[in-house]
């Protein structure tokens, strides 16, 4: 068996990659993809914790079900996020978040 901390280490690396992408990428679609990476890093953690600690206790399915809900949130986030990007692009011909400043005070 693979020890728990190795799963967590991979998840941490994936999360950091996502953080880097969100901070450094200029393109809104690329930023959204980086957010998906971060969400998946979280999912690895949830399932790993579920497998290594939870199945022995009474709370049989918390991590499992929670991962499924995170998946749903990720899907909803991608759908709405991309729709916003498409609309902003249609109105301003740009996909760079810094340039969408219509609501800036």
């Amino acid at each position: 068996m693979v020890p728990l901390w190795m799963y967590l280490a991979v998840a941490a690396a994936l999360f950091s990659l996502g953080v880097f992408g969100v901070l450094a990428r200029r393109n809104a679609v690329a930023i959204l993809m980086s957010v998906e990476l971060m969400l998946n890093a979280v999912n690895i953690n949830l399932v790993a914790f579920w497998r290594y600690s939870e199945t022995g206790t009474d709370l049989l399915l918390n991590g499992y079900a929670f991962t499924a809900f995170v998946l749903i949130v990720a899907a909803a986030e991608a759908a709405v996020g991309l729709a916003i990007i498409i609309t902003v692009y249609r109105n301003r011909r740009s996909v760079i978040p810094e340039e969408a400043t219509a609501l800036k005070g």
Binding site: M1, V2, P3, L4, W5, M6, Y7, L8, A9, A12, A13, L14, F15, S16, L17, G18, V19, F20, L23, A24, R25, R26, V29, A30, M33, E36, L37, N40, N43, I44, V47, W50, R51, Y52, S53, T55, L60, L61, Y64, A65, A68, F69, L71, I72, V73, A74, A75, A76, A78, A79, V80, A83, I84, I85, I86, T87, Y89, R93, V95, E98
Partner: protein
């Protein structure tokens, strides 16, 4: 760590996950970025299988590779000038240092000190089946509230996204 199916699988899926993730943040071409994202998420699905959650793995592939990949590709094609952006990165150095710090803190601040000592044998052998999940989702002692909320969220997301993305002129 001895060499067996699980460890080989773990190594392979780690290459998939992290390699794909690296591709996502570095590639300039967004379509290739989408494919890299799918490689990465495929690796994550592999982890789910290693962690005895095959249902989640199937769902991961179904939702990400079956749907979100297609959706991102459509969006990439709809926002054509996406590929014309000359500058790939902004604040490259601070972001790099920041994310590296996040990684180091996560790894050596939390993961290794707390869970580094946990033995591999800690994983129990009883694993829940999909049927248990289905029963738990809709039982009043289970997850029926998040279940309904998920439904509301999905409905809201769909209505909202259609409302935003629809071309009024057409």
């Amino acid at each position: 760590m001895e060499l067996n199916a699980v460890t080989i699988g773990f190594a392979v899926f780690t290459i998939f996950t992290l390699g794909g993730g690296f591709g996502v943040v570095t590639t300039r071409n967004l379509f290739q970025g989408t494919i890299w994202l799918m490689v990465s998420l495929f690796g994550v699905a592999g982890y789910f299988i290693l962690l005895s959650a095959p249902f989640l793995a199937a769902v991961q592939i179904l939702v990400y590779i079956g749907a979100i990949a297609i959706l991102i590709t459509f969006a990439v094609m709809l926002t054509r000038s996406v590929t014309r952006i000359k500058v790939r990165y902004i604040r490259l150095l601070p972001s790099f240092i920041g994310s590296l710090l996040v990684f180091l803190i996560l790894l050596f601040g939390i993961t290794v000190p707390i869970f580094g000592g946990q033995l591999p044998e800690a994983a129990p052998q009883t694993v829940a089946s999909t049927r248990d999940l289905g029963a738990a989702l809709v039982s009043e002692h289970g997850y029926v509230v998040p279940f309904m909320l998920a439904s509301v969220l999905l409905t809201g997301a769909m209505i909202g996204a259609i409302f935003i993305a629809r071309d009024e002129k057409a």
